[in-house]
């Protein structure tokens, strides 16, 4: 029943239970909040905020995200372009859409423009998209809860 005392320095038993509890709690927390979705957010773009910009309930069928910096440059797939070269980019997108058996009109162009970007450039983007046969646009804004 009794344990014999060992001689010499004994190995101190650290109680690991609270640490493991906490670590698992943290893992569980990060697992819940982690977001693997490829939300195309870019630090270069400071979206304008709006109280009505509620996050969409369902994702778009065929989304194409075009981002516009405050300087008027286009960011597409992480690379900087000139707005004038948008036609080439859209032509490629159009081919991909047509290959999947869909029409460009079914695709939605998500415009993520910086709040300081010139409106004329946004309109230019929309005009080029229209020429390529796209008609649905979503102007993206940051949701502002008014607080």
């Amino acid at each position: 029943m009794f344990r014999r005392r060992t001689r010499g320095p004994s190995v101190s038993d650290i109680d690991m239970t609270p640490m493991i509890d906490m670590t698992f709690q943290l893992i569980a927390f990060f697992m819940f909040v982690v977001n693997f979705s490829e939300a195309e957010q870019d630090d270069r773009i400071q979206l304008p905020s709006s109280q009505l910009a509620k996050p969409a309930e369902a994702p778009f069928d065929v989304p194409i995200t075009l981002q516009l910096t405050s300087g008027g440059s286009l960011v597409y797939a992480g690379e900087l372009f000139d707005v004038g070269s948008l036609g080439t980019v859209l032509e490629r997108e159009k081919t991909i859409i047509l290959d999947t058996g869909k029409e460009p009109a079914a695709a939605t162009i998500i415009v993520r423009a910086d709040g300081q970007a010139p409106t004329g450039e946004v309109q230019e983007i929309i005009r080029i998209c229209q020429e390529k046969g796209f008609e649905k646009f979503a102007l993206r804004a940051k949701y502002d809860d008014g607080g």
């Binding site: 690991m16 493991i20 670590t23 693997f36 009505l52 709040g115 929309i126 649905k136 979503a138 804004a141």
Partner: protein, 165 residues
């Protein structure tokens, strides 16, 4: 796995089981580090849907029931916004713009209501910062009352772009 240490007195009771925690803690910390590093803080964002087929503005045949579009003109100043006008009359702020839109279309926004049929055309200067356009769209497309969004005009289009001059 029970360790039968030398010199331990045998007893009828079960010995304390020493589990080697090190590999588990290693893995747990690896997982923790992975989730911390892959954490991406995503801001909530929303969209304003605009449907603008090419040439629709020109091709739209005048309809008897069609209400003429509300023309909102946003002028750019040296820095930011210089002025707002609605159907030619100057408007002081976006709040006033919203009040005037509500006065025009009312708060009834069901199907076939005036708000449902009305269209807003935004006419903006080239150099106008885009945030004012979003403010104008917010003002005409809805209002928040007691946390509920009341939709106003849903059909929004842009006037042909002005040249960069």
């Amino acid at each position: 796995m029970a360790t039968a240490e030398g010199g331990r007195a045998e007893s009828g009771l079960a010995d304390k089981i020493d589990i080697n925690m090190t590999p588990m803690i290693d893995i747990v910390f690896q997982l923790l580090a992975f989730f911390i590093m892959s954490l991406k803080i995503v801001q909530p964002e929303g969209d304003f849907d605009v449907r603008m087929p090419l040439g629709a503005a020109a091709a739209a045949a005048p309809d008897e029931e069609q209400i003429p579009p509300i023309r909102i003109r946003l002028t750019a100043g040296e820095v930011g916004l210089a002025g707002i006008s609605m159907n030619g009359t100057p408007v002081g702020s976006f709040e006033e713009l919203q009040e005037r839109v509500i006065a025009l279309v009312g708060l009834d926004t069901g199907p076939n209501s005036i708000a449902d049929k009305t269209e807003v055309e935004l006419d903006c200067d080239f150099q106008l910062p885009y945030e004012y356009v979003v403010n104008a769209i917010t003002a005409v497309s809805g209002t928040v009352q007691d946390g509920q969004i009341i939709e106003l005009v849903k059909k929004i289009k842009f006037a042909p772009p002005k040249s960069d001059s």
